[in-house]
Amino acid sequence: MADAGSASGSRSGSVLLTRGLSRSFGVGSTRVQAVVDVDLTVERGEVVLIMGPSGSGKTTLLSLVGGLLRPSAGTVSLAGHDLAALGEAARARVRRDNVGFVFQDFNLLSALTARENVEIALNLAGRSGRSAREAACRLLDELGMGARLDFTPGQLSGGEQQRVAIARALANRPLLILADEPTANLDSRHGKAVVDLLVGITRDQGRTVVIVSHDYRLADVATRIVWMEDGRLQASAPAGVSAPFAHGSGAAADR
């Protein structure tokens, strides 16, 4: 079992800590082990890139650490909350207060404008009225979307939609940003720009980012790269030594 990250997991800077984390789907002969016995520690301020072939369990892992799925076994500690022990409503609160999601398909609410898509995240956290509206406008302005506040997703390009999604993810100043293939639906130029923006802002604000992607170019912005295969973490290495992972060396490499 590879501990991808701090072995102790008890350092005060740990935002995310998993131990023996497993998740299976189906029963009997259709049972599939999507995530197997994963130990992962992510420290505050890290930008962790999780890579691996399709079907390796990356997205399931992201869902588990984001509190969207309950593990079949093991523990997930997010900002001190034991997600495995919490009920659905409590996990929703933890997500709302501590996690920002950036999705591959942007997943904006199609009937709302760019501003409203950001504002709704603030509303869910208890901020409303002018305060929420102004905060949403400010954030979108920082992301270069100040001129597109009243545009609906259908009127925005893919890159612009992803910027709105990033603004929504950042709205409640979460400890952890989870991004699933954030560049997959963008051309290379916009994809790079969006990730630079995401990582730049989160780094400036001292936030932590976990990105799942097939895109090797993201290795440039990551502080650590984790390779995943067959539901297991195979290796972890600081950014800059990512090349071997592209070939799935399988060598465990704790920081």
Binding site: S63, L68, F103, N107, L109, A111, A121
Partner: protein, 364 residues
Amino acid sequence: MVPVARKNLLADKVRLLVSIGGVTFAVILVLVVRSLYEGYYQEIGAFVETMPVDIWVTQQSAGGLLYTSVLPASSGPQVAAVPGVRRVVAMDRQRLMLEHDGRSIDAFLMAFNVPSTAGGALGLPIPEPGQVAIDGSTAAKYGLKVGDTITARGVSFRLSTVTSMPMVALSGIAIVSWDDGQALLGVPGYVSSWLVNVAAGADVSRVAGTIGAQVPGVAAVPREQFASANRSQLSGTFIPIITVLLGVAFIVGSAVVGITIYTATTERWREFGVLKAIGASTGTLFRIVLQQSVLVCATGFAIGVPLTYLVNHFARRLVPEFITLVRWQDALLALGVVLGMALVASVIPVRRLARIDPAEVFRG
């Protein structure tokens, strides 16, 4: 909070309009049916209530204008002899078909044993022999005007007066002189009813009780109770029909709103999953769906109520006996119906939302 419900609905304006139209239709149906019932309910009692008569004396167990009543003429002096009775007027009535220009007119033919000059005492016009007075609704429906000839059982009458007196249970009222009434309806030695007025200071209920006790075979009923008895006859006939129509309106409205809310929810299934993923509680999602339903229903209600007045107005112009009365209680009933629709329409989407898996949003 960002008005997600309103925005979701406005995203498909055609579907929203169809849905609001469905609710509006249901509201109009509920209110028109109720107001029609209420209109007739008031009308049928109003005929009795507007006549300045204290006690209606009819054949026992014939306590209403819709029942046939036959009393021996000899009971008249017995009624008049009861202490406290000031005046007794004989009345003959029978439901029959009048004719005008080859058209049949359903009406109660009535005659009162008072001279034409004394009709005011009964609050009714009493025509001269050979003449007939007709209620306004019937006159409007058949295009009758003063001077027209109306035939009853082969006897022709000249229409002398069109009055504002109410109809009786969908049938018109035609009044002829006592002599003409006797000739047409009279069974020698019998009348239909006695209309009694009591002396000043006499207790109506007590006098009615005494008449019932002293005159064999009669029912003596104070005016208000007699009006209520007439209304009860109508209620017994119409309430089941109205209940069915209200049920139809409720089902139609609920189905239209339900389909709209269901499709508005399912086509945004993924977006509801996103909301759940970013921290919305299941209760918040329920509220959004319920707000959608309530918005559609409230708009339909707000449009449906004034439209009901228009529908009733134009229907009355086309069909004069379309007598309606919209009461605030019925508007409240319609509001209850639409709120019920909103709840019913939300049940299935809400049940599905409860099962939504926020992890679905990660699956492309």
